[in-house]
Amino acid sequence: MSRLENTFKALKQNSKKALIPFVTAGDPNPEVTVPLLHSMVKAGANVIELGVPFSDPMAEGPIIQAACERALKHNIGLDDVFAMVKAFRQDDDETPIVLMGYLNPIEVKGYDNFAKLASEAGVDGIITVDMPPDEAEKYNLAFHAFGLDTIYLVAPTSTPDRIEKICRNSRGFVYYVSLKGVTGVAHIDTDSIAEKVSQIRAQTDMPVGVGFGIKDAESALAVAKVADAVIVGSEIVKRVAEFANNPAEMQQSIAELLTSMRNAIDNYK
């Protein structure tokens, strides 16, 4: 059983929801990342979503674009990301790590080679923003052969037959991007999220995560009421940027945010 399956199963048995924070690998410098991941797990993260920096992050808003640029100043590539995951795995062999990024760095490695290296490093799943299931036949074969979960995104604009296709190609969990537009902007609409999540549940028994626009305990709770996982990105990356020169304060600020979310989603009845 994969780490993602284990994690979601255990949460479900305890009637809990997953909290999934996102950070960009190597932002603002490579030394910060691994200790930050451990501190996020301590603060209540169940799964880590680790961003792979890309020069042209087309679906990101300004906050995550800037994170990519900070990481790329240190030339962080996939090999560095794998090394970080390996280092993380020395002290934590349970928390699933999902890489989120764009297709071109994976294309350059080659699907099979990438899958082998990622799986050896201890990566559990892959989200590739610009890889729709329609183009993903070889990609899925390669990744599934190495036990990597392929996670695909559902958007507010996804039609029912697209949702079906996305669920069919997904492993681990299905990721609902709750807003049109780019990461880190605008407000969430919980009614429309509930409706879309129920459309997804009609197609799959897999857990459903919701991301985009979750920034505090209140919005985390609203999402946790309808989804299996709450994904937090831009709000964390904002704090990385704010405390770029002080890793201890950065960890503390992010831990406070995650703890408040953890408490909110664990305590509602």
Binding site: S55, M58, A59, E69, L72, G77, P105, E107, D130, K180
Partner: protein
């Protein structure tokens, strides 16, 4: 996929691409975020309908004739031919179009499509500003809101085109991310489209982007080759031996090449920007010196580093300064139907001066790459051979760049 390509090669029917999902064999496709899959499907459906709709075709043809000023002449460059002493050189005069380049053929077509689809707002990316101006132009005419994304660096370099767009009523939005040039403007336009899919039509300026753009832009630009084919048959009584066009994203080249693809005897040559020289790494020649990858929604040849990060391009002409290229060119290169070469900044400048002094035509720096390559190969060709060069745009926009390089104050 490979069987399709094999069949095409065997049948010599090169015009059948792409397949229904936008693949040119291994290239092309639609590699976009899920949010864009719905608007792309909507666009595919609308285009499939309108491209066969007699009213749409009639309106497009009418606009090309009366607004753009088509057909553009095919001009026999007699003086330049004599000077080079070899093949006969004809120029397809896209520089004489309204707004001064081939770009407007495509924006007229896409804006018409936007109107038919009930969209009220158009957006575009631009590098040098030619596509931005061509988009602002058609938006003004149709009374649509228009937002043009342009890298901060390009805004600084192309102030007159920025002013032109603003005069036409467009909002020019500076892009501060990445290298602050064309590729970043394209990223930002995609972000806008993701956010405003309901009322917005994204007018892409070249044969790149996700399916159906490479096909749709090619179809609108193919008017160049259809006219040229007819004109050369009328003027010379036969097909040309070679077509030469510059390639940035590749829309003027594919527009000229496409109607000749099945004429196996016509050699097709695309000319990329070698910048400071291919060997320096400072160039814009992904077909000559890049590798296959995925950017801006399609698989094609790219300029990238070992980690798959897109690298900055260098070229004297902003219109060629793009790290990718249309997927159909990538395919035509791989199957050997077209060849791709590169011309450096210095050679392009010489081409610019040559045509200006010898024919009294100031060419765009983009087109000057095609001209420079022509002057390399024409002298060794026979006098009864024919070359058609796509003069894709006029050089008025470039005179400040040229003057600055040559240390002249204008």
């Amino acid at each position: 996929m490979s069987t399709t390509t094999d069949e095409i090669i065997k049948e010599k029917s090169w015009t059948e691409m792409p397949d229904e999902r936008g693949h040119f064999a291994n290239f092309g496709g639609a590699f976009v975020a899920e949010t864009l899959m719905a608007p792309i499907a909507e666009l595919v459906k609308a285009y499939e309908h309108y491209k066969n709709d007699p009213d749409f075709i009639a309106e497009f043809d009418h606009d090309l004739a009366h607004y753009v000023g088509r057909p553009s002449p095919l001009y026999f460059a007699e003086a330049w031919t004599k000077r080079l002493g070899g093949a006969q050189i004809y120029l397809k005069r896209e520089d004489l179009n309204h707004t001064g380049a081939h770009k407007v053929n495509n924006t007229v077509g896409q804006a018409l499509l936007a109107k038919k689809m009930g969209k009220t707002r158009v957006i575009a990316e631009t590098g040098a500003g030619q596509h931005g101006v061509a988009t602002a132009t058609v938006a003004a005419r149709l009374g649509m809101d228009c937002v043009v994304y342009m890298g901060e660096e390009d805004i600084r370099r192309q102030t007159s085109n920025v002013y032109r767009m603003r005069l036409l009523g467009a909002e020019v939005v500076p892009v501060y991310s990445g290298s602050k040039t064309l590729k970043d403007a394209l990223n930002e336009a995609l972000r806008d489209w993701v956010t405003n899919v309901d009322d917005t039509f994204y007018i892409i300026g070249t044969v790149a982007g996700p399916h159906p753009y490479p096909m749709l832009v090619r179809d609108f630009q193919s008017i160049i080759g259809r006219e040229a084919r007819e004109q050369i048959l009328e003027q010379a009584g036969r097909l040309p031996d070679q077509l030469i066009a510059c390639v940035g994203g590749g829309s003027n080249a594919i527009g000229l090449f496409y109607p000749f693809l099945n004429d196996a005897e016509v050699k097709l040559t695309g000319v990329e920007g070698a910048g400071e020289g291919i060997e320096t790494g400072k160039h814009a020649a992904p077909l000559c010196a890049g590798q296959s990858g995925v950017l801006h929604g399609n698989r094609t040849y790219l300029m990238e580093d070992k980690d798959g990060q897109i690298i900055e391009t260098h070229c004297i002409s902003a219109g060629l300064d793009y790290p990718g290229v249309g997927p159909e060119h990538a395919w035509l290169k791989d199957v050997g139907r077209a060849e791709y070469v590169a011309i450096n900044d210095k050679e392009a400048l010489q081409g610019f001066h040559d045509l200006t002094r010898i024919e009294g035509i100031i060419p765009a720096l983009e087109s000057s790459h095609a001209l420079a390559y022509t002057s390399k190969i024409a002298p060794a060709m026979k006098k009864d051979q024919i070359i058609i060069v796509n003069l894709s745009g006029r050089g008025d926009k470039d005179i400040h760049t040229v003057a600055e390089i040559e240390g002249i104050k204008v």
